[in-house]
């Protein structure tokens, strides 16, 4: 797999330099690997900090800005960032109102954010945490590290971010974040494996004519391999997996997410099938977002995320957001 890079070692730093040049409205600390909204800390506002391995762009750096994250900490490719980054980010955005860490449920992310929380609290910053664990492909039991955090991260960051922007206090922003996570589920499908710069070849072997159901976003193989399916069949499978677990009793926000290597043309076509299944299952759709938001480098495939919303959450979704990757309102 050929890549548009110099050497694998500098991929993340290079990207941050490029991001700094493209987004003067952000403060990008390349050396310390922190992306902060330019006007941070905002007086009286709760800070929202997330982060995780790189390779999922625009997550998280592309979601920094008014109405969403206050700062993001990019780790190495597919590797959780280190506590130092998170502490620095928290310090940069804390106005005294405290900071919410949005943590995807991976052992690495959890351990590093936990350490960071301790250190930040030592520095006098009030920290709350929301764990995102929406991936229904992983059985949540004693026998796993629990469900992974995937597409719902966007929901949590957007909705908790909107609450923070409105001036909600830390406990409230945290509560919103938790509520969003509880009401969100995702399922992903890979049509090809991902190639990381460090490895330089696909992380697993996916023969032509087969796909992986229940894929994660780090190139780990899925739960099951099957003969290639049509867009229609994949939508049936993925939406059913999500709906059966979430059992939504009201309208949902739909995220039809590309994993990076699947053309937008196909994603929109897939969305048509997703909407069909939702209609067949009697699930009303309040909003739909289609695009590459929580990716896995060049992996071909998609994921479906649903978030069941009430009036408040829908209002927070529609609230203005001004980030590199998500923008609307005002």
């Amino acid at each position: 797999m050929k890549m548009l890079i110099n050497v694998p070692e500098t991929v993340v730093a290079d990207a941050l330099r490029g991001m700094a040049a493209a987004h003067p409205e952000l403060f990008v600390d390349v050396d310390n690997r922190v992306v902060v909204r330019g006007d941070a800390p905002v007086a009286g506002k709760v800070g929202l900090v997330s982060g995780g391995g790189s390779g999922h762009e625009p997550l998280h750096g592309g979601f920094v800005g008014p109405g969403m994250l206050s700062a993001a900490c990019p780790g190495e490719v597919f590797t959780s960032p280190v506590p130092d980054q998170m502490v620095r980010a928290a310090a940069a955005v804390d106005s005294g109102a405290g900071v919410l860490f949005v943590v995807k449920n991976y052992t690495g992310d959890v351990l590093n954010f936990d350490m960071a929380a301790e250190l930040a609290e030592d520095e006098g910053i009030q920290i709350a945490k929301v764990l995102v664990n929406d991936d229904v492909a992983v059985t949540d039991s004693l026998y796993t590290a629990g469900r992974r955090g995937t597409g719902a991260t966007l929901f949590v960051e957007k909705l908790a971010g909107a609450a923070a922007e409105e001036g909600a206090p830390l406990e409230r922003v945290e509560a919103i974040g938790r509520r969003v996570n509880e009401r969100s589920r995702s399922f992903g499908v890979a049509l090809s494996a991902v190639t990381t710069p460090a490895k330089g070849s696909p992380t697993f072997d996916l023969p032509p004519g087969e796909l992986e159901l229940g894929i994660g976003i780090h190139g780990e193989p899925g739960r099951e391999r099957r003969a290639m399916m049509t867009s229609r069949e994949i939508a049936d499978f993925a939406v059913d997996a999500v709906v059966e677990d979430l059992r939504p009793s009201g309208p949902v926000i739909v995220l039809v997410n590309g994993l990076g290597g699947t053309p937008l043309l196909e994603l929109y076509g897939f969305n048509a099938e997703v909407q069909r299944v939702l209609k067949e299952r009697g699930v009303p759709v309040a909003r739909t977002l289609v695009g590459n938001y929580v990716t896995s480098l060049d992996m071909a495939g998609c994921s479906v995320s649903l978030c069941q919303v009430d009036e408040e959450l829908l209002r927070l979704w529609d609230a203005p957001v001004k980030t590199p990757a998500l923008r609307w309102g005002r």
């Binding site: 052992t107 350490m115 492909a137 059985t139 590290a145 994660g216």
Partner: protein, 219 residues
């Protein structure tokens, strides 16, 4: 304590471990990680996310760089420094876990400028216990603990037990092959994690092999 000059190479119960010993351990470990990084990443690509080798490479490079600049006062300080570097540079699951292993082992060694193998064994057991607590894993979960726990058990008051510990770790790493992962990223695979050796257990075996090698080289 009085062992200087004697040559009982298969039985060095009384050798004293100083800062240099721990520096040597970490240097040998770093060299092994450099050599085996590709294999570790390869193992991680089968049941994880293909970064374990480069994670540890980044971490141990930073450890050796730091040890070239700094001269911590005693064994404990060397390990605490190394643990902190791992935490600050590795990320992922293995960063906090290995970082905690070394940091807590180092803390348990305290301020002494020299320690006995028996004292080290006690300290390492505390470090391994901290890893178990932090990650919530038990032996059999197909993690680094499957190599670390048997190694810590095999370690004793004698210097020769260091190579026994290396062997136990290696055996433990190999024994992860038939296991189904219950912690970490590999657990997402369910039954598909069976049949592959755990990358973290493999790197733990390296760490213990480095310990044995450092002991071998100890005058």
């Amino acid at each position: 304590m009085t062992g200087e000059g004697d040559h009982v190479t298969d039985q060095k119960p009384d050798r004293i471990l100083d800062s240099d010993f721990f520096r040597r351990w970490l240097t040998v470990a770093a060299a092994m990680v450099e050599r085996e990084a590709g294999r570790l990443t390869e193992l991680d690509s089968a049941i994880g996310d293909a970064d374990h080798g480069s994670n540890l490479q980044r971490g141990f490079r930073s450890v050796t760089a730091e040890l070239e600049k700094e001269s911590p006062a005693g064994p404990g300080a060397v390990l605490v420094l190394a643990g902190r570097r791992l935490i600050s540079t590795v990320g992922g699951a293995s960063g906090p876990l290995y970082g905690t292993l070394l940091r807590r082992t180092g803390k348990a060694l305290g301020d002494a400028t020299e320690v006995t193998p028996g004292e080290f064994t006690e300290a390492l057991r505390a470090g391994v216990a901290a890893v178990a607590q932090l990650g919530g894993a038990k032996v059999g979960d197909k993690t680094m603990l499957d190599a670390l726990e048997p190694a810590a058990e095999a370690l004793g008051a004698s210097f020769s037990s260091f190579s026994a510990a290396a062997e136990a770790a290696e055996k433990g790493a190999l024994a992860t092959v038939p296991l189904q992962a219950r912690k970490g990223r590999a657990s997402y695979l369910g039954e598909r994690s069976i049949g592959h050796q755990d990358p973290g257990a493999t790197s733990s075996a390296l760490l213990m092999a480095a310990l044995a090698e450092a002991a071998e080289a100890t005058p």
